[in-house]
């Protein structure tokens, strides 16, 4: 959305000099808001006002890229506060911390193993943060070089001494790492470094307002490839700051905070750390930095990210295939449903509750529910028969009975026909009826 008439009016001199050709500054502001005039017509507008007006057309949160190639991470460019209003676009990047005082090779290799397969999807962590704890430039450079050699993941270089950072960038600048961080003490030199190497730069202040002021100073040096850290580390305060940054950027177009955010966990216990990271991931963090790299600590967080960043308008699907629930064999009953994940999981839950080991075929309906799919012609005798054939039911089962959802009882005949004589049983209309149905028919 562009600027409103009032916002433009406030940037104008308000002298009603008529030099622009409009009778009043108010009229000129209206013309600008409607795109019927150009700001150039006003000879008296200040440079500051011009910049404020120009930047208003940019997206509320700048898109920042970290890394190179396939593993480039895109941060920011969000427009919503709640996923149900539209959707969240760029999933929070999950980064894992490596200290230059630990065994870098071991930790990076551990991080590389954090790749999970679930529900037909692959989940990975996105970034490796190499932190300068040693205080020594050569040690740090070697650690960065080693990490860069071991992984293609995007890197975050974490060192506040600009000399240390400069040295590390000699070997890593080509990977476009996130340079962390410009602070009140070092921002001039750190900004010059990042700008020179074309690497994105994190800006860390002391609280929200101080951070905004520091970002303005960095921006005044001519660099805007930024990520912000308000410096808070306590859970509730980080939540407050992340919320404010998102709101100010999206609802107020407040430029100094119109960048993605980075949040660091502070808890030492890995379970508490994971809980803290869950809060930040839920509420707007662009990057969340974790210390633990154990599989069981990271998988839940990545699963939540996958859930949260799905498009609410677009149904999520399970893989269209045959699933076995419980200890199935060739005599187990066979149920049909669709591959809309919510539908499938409800059916799966009830089949499980029935305590009768069974097969379920999720027919590919592009992720829509039973009745909708039937109405759209995506759940038909033919599509059911095709799915059964693909699942090789004839080979896997010793019987020829198939249960279809009660809502599509009308498909009985066509399923029978398309499958070449399978006996079609009409199941309950709602999944909740499955346990009772199974007890009556298969127990």
């Amino acid at each position: 959305m562009g600027l409103t008439g009032l916002e433009i009016f406030k940037q104008l001199p308000r002298t009603n000099c008529k030099d622009c050709g409009s009778p009043t500054c108010l009229a000129f502001a209206m013309a600008l808001a409607n795109g019927k005039a150009s700001l150039d017509k006003c000879p008296h507008v200040t440079d500051e006002a011009r910049e404020n007006l120009d930047s208003a057309s940019a997206p509320p949160i700048k898109l920042i890229k970290v890394g190179t190639g396939d593993q480039t991470v895109e941060l920011g460019d969000e427009t919503e506060l709640f996923r149900h209003d539209k959707k969240f676009y760029h999933p929070t990047a999950v980064a894992i911390l490596v200290s230059d005082q630990e065994d870098v090779e071991a930790k990076v290799n551990q991080i590389k193993e954090l790749e999970f397969e679930r529900v037909g999807l692959k989940f990975i962590t996105d970034m490796v943060v190499v932190k300068n704890d040693s205080g020594d430039a050569d040690t740090y450079k070697a650690a960065v070089e080693k990490a860069a050699a071991l992984t293609d993941k995007a890197l975050v270089l974490m060192a506040e001494d600009t000399g240390v950072m400069a040295k590390a960038l000699e070997v890593a600048a080509g990977r476009k790492p996130l340079v962390y961080a410009a602070t009140a003490e070092n921002y001039e030199a750190m900004t010059a470094l990042a700008k020179d190497k074309g690497c994105p730069l994190a800006v860390r202040g002391k609280g929200l307002e101080d951070t905004a002021a520091l970002v303005e100073k960095v921006a005044a040096l001519g660099y805007k490839e930024l990520v912000v850290d308000t410096g808070e580390r306590e859970t509730s305060k980080v939540l407050a700051d992340l919320t404010q940054v998102r709101r100010l950027a999206v609802k107020k177009r407040f430029r100094p905070l119109g960048y993605p955010t980075i949040a660091f966990t502070s808890k030492e216990d890995p379970l508490e750390e994971a809980a803290q990271a869950t809060v930040y991931l839920s509420k707007y963090a662009g990057v969340v930095v974790m210390k633990t790299a154990e599989k069981q600590h990271i998988l839940p967080l990545l699963s939540w990210r996958q859930n949260l960043f799905t498009d609410p308008q677009k149904p999520i699907q399970v893989e269209a295939k045959m699933y076995g629930v419980g200890d199935v064999n060739e005599n187990s009953p066979l149920y049909i449903t669709t591959n809309f994940s919510l539908t499938y999981y409800i059916v799966e839950g009830e089949v499980e509750a029935s305590k009768v080991p069974s097969y379920i075929i999720a027919v590919n309906t592009d992720g829509i529910s039973v009745l909708t799919a039937w109405a759209a012609g995506k759940l038909t005798g033919e599509s059911i028969a095709a799915a059964m054939k693909k699942a090789e039911v004839e080979e896997k089962l010793a019987h020829k009975k198939v249960v279809i959802p009660g809502h599509v009882a009308v498909l009985s005949g066509s399923v029978e026909e398309s499958t070449g004589g399978w006996e079609v049983l009409v199941g309950p209309r709602e999944a909740a009826g499955i346990p009772k149905y199974a007890k009556a028919n298969f127990a």
């Binding site: 959305m1 009032l6 009016f9 108010l26 808001a33």
Partner: protein, 263 residues
Amino acid sequence: MIIIGERINGMFTDIGNAIKDRNPAAVQEWAKKQEVAGARYLDINTGPASKNQAEDMKWLVEVAQEASDLPLALDSTNYDAIEAGLALCKRPAMINSVPAEMPKMERVFEMAAKYNAAVIGLAMNEQGIPKDAESRVALAMELVAMADAYGLHMEDLYIDPLVLPCNVGQDHGPEVFETLRQIKLLADPAPRTVVGLSNISQGTKNRELINRVFAVMAMACGLDAAIADACDDELVEAVATARIVLNMDIYCDSYVDVFRKQG
């Protein structure tokens, strides 16, 4: 859309007599009735026959507040009468109304700031009511800039694009809708909008049907409030339904009852 109940107006015989006789019964009955029916403000107008508008306004404010907890919209062109009423209001009130004219805007916005009141601003000036949307919006912008200068929140400024009866000013209809849409783009947060609903049907047959249809169409263009007959059940039902269709309230089977109870 919130309904500002129009019934406490000296133009109606029962209210006119009530004012004359200082008999609160009719005023209080309508205050309660409109509240139960779904009104969220009560419009208070002494009517044209009032000899002493300030005194009549004060009396109406007091007796209405005895009967209902709804905030009041003080409706007069006599700003002294409005100020006298504002001083007695227990809840932040609404000033109805001011045109985009100096020095009226100065007087009204100053008063609004002093009494923490909302203001209905009319998209008209000394030259009258403009015909096209563009000129109406320009006047709206003047109201917005002035309200902002006096520190009024945009949520407390209700701009009335001015509705003309559809049998005489048929060509104004589309301009009013366009004005409603554009007013929402004047500031962020946007100012609110209001109409005097029954104007659209003055002098026509089918008055209630015209009011209802206009109300839902205007809501689709962003209308926030209307001075209207809160006791027109079908109007209230149409408004409740439009709120559902526009995703302003969360649907449930009893949504009309819910709307009546909580607005």
